[in-house]
Amino acid sequence: MANITDAIVDTIGEPILVLEGDATVALANRAFYEGFEVPAQETLGQRLFDLGNGQWNIPLLRRMLGELQTGREIVRDFRVEHDFERIGRRVMLLTARRLNQEGSERVLLVINDITEREAREERLAGEQELSEKLIDSIREGLVVLTSALTVERVNQSFCDMFEIEPAEAEGHRIYELGNNQWDIPELRTALEEILPQQRAFDDFEVRGDFPDIGKRIMLLNARQLDHMPLILLAIRDETAQRAHSMSQKLMLGELQHRVKNILANVRSVAAATIDRSASLDEFRSAYLPRLQSMSRAQDLLLSGIEGLADLGDIVREELAAHGWPEDGRVRLERQPIGLTRTQAQTFAMVIHELATNAVKHGAFAHPGGRLAVEWSSGHGEIALAWRESGLEDVRPPRRRGFGTEMIEQSIEYVLSGQCELDLREDGLCCRLRFPERHDQEEERE
């Protein structure tokens, strides 16, 4: 009988001790000797607490055995952590049972070494935490699907992206989310045909039209897991990116259109100036300042606020370019008025022609000449009066030049405004008026 007991005890994988009432070791099994690296002769007949330089002298263990002496039959799964000299730190679950053999107070102590198990569990918990946090920290929408395509988990990005709560998604088939919004044929193809065959796909484009958030272009990456019946589906919302590159393209087209228009204007001014130039010198002195004026208008538009050029800046710069900074002979209005691109370009050319005329024939061609320019805006209209004075006996020019044509016609033609040229005896008076903003005008700035 004893042999059978010994045999059983010896084959059991867990260390087992039988202790006398005074904690002397009566019996130990092979698992004990091997697990704690102690030989039998240093164990049997010794008090447990003296074993191996007292390394079993563990207060918790003493307490546990003490409990048995107070009459308890068994103490189960008593968790003890201890540093052993030879084998290092161990975590054990101890179960002690009174054997109640006649006349003795023997105790059976079963030691369950759970050091490895706990370490493994901790590692697993760590890995779990890593994957949870990984899923949540990713900016892409992430969906964990079961092999039946039921949503197991979604991350915050997914919820933000599609304005959905985790509870509305988890536990439902992916196609059913948000009233079957996700029942998209391409998505079915990707998940049901491509994924089972290839176990993974990247950058699969799917377009969806979602009632709440509108049309979306999504790029999907998916992985079928090997060790679990799960699918990872990562979703990148490409909509904004695509719209951005689309608008880049449009802007580029717009820019090209503008450049071509400016070149065409430069060409037209050249052609008109050639028509009215008797010599190369005459051409040069009329054409180059016109080009300069166009260029100044572009500068003002570029530096202006919200793409608008200030009307006063245009007048001042044109006069300065003609050698007439604001001084005693020139009086200018101060009120700022923003002109759109089209307005500024046309207006600048008109002012340029007026200033050129003043230098050649008008206020700036005679010592007593004066110029006052006033402007205002209101009732949806911008009005300007250019008044030259201090001249004597002003006569109409012999021929009408390109400048006069520009002044008289372009405001009406381009800006739906009006222009009156009035040649008074003491100088030219020009009145312009045009709507503040063209309705559908202004190119997307």
Binding site: R267, M406, Q440
Partner: protein, 153 residues
């Protein structure tokens, strides 16, 4: 100009929002003898009969496709003016005669005569080459047109 030209008697429409370009196109057509039905930067089409039209695709922020379609439906020969690549033009128009901005006078003249006065296109074809030989272009007045560009001294 009272002289005749290859476009004499033709009533033409110029639709271009840039004043300078419009007036140059108009002037050029008039120099070729055409009568201008209208020169405008707006989308309203002239109701009167036309022998042809030059239409810019982009009028400010608007595109002139509705006008182009109406004119085409009326059978008015069109030259489309554009600052864009042909590739960004509406697809069904890529077959239309297109004048790219900034335009070449010679190219404009060739297209204008070919489309707006096809019956005179063949006589025009011969004297096309440069200046000196322009006198051959026919009865005196032709010199203005064939000289090719309003570039008078």
């Amino acid at each position: 100009m009272t002289g005749k030209g290859p476009l004499e008697g033709k009533r033409l429409l110029v639709v271009e929002d840039e004043f300078l370009i419009a007036r140059e196109l108009a002037q050029f057509l008039e120099d070729q003898g055409a009568a201008l039905a209208a020169m405008t930067g707006q989308l309203e089409a002239a109701q009167e009969p036309l022998d042809g039209a030059v239409v810019d695709v982009q009028l400010g922020a608007e595109q002139s496709y509705p006008l182009i379609d109406r004119l085409r439906a009326r059978g008015v020969p069109l030259i489309i003016l554009t600052g864009y690549n042909q590739t960004t033009l509406r697809e069904d128009l890529t077959g239309c005669p297109i004048l790219a901005k900034p335009f070449q006078e010679r190219e404009f003249e060739r297209l204008a005569v070919q489309l707006f006065a096809p019956e005179r296109a063949s006589e025009q074809a011969a004297p096309m080459p440069q200046g000196g030989s322009a006198a051959k272009g026919g009865e005196g007045a032709g010199a203005g047109g064939a000289g090719g560009g309003g570039l008078r001294p």
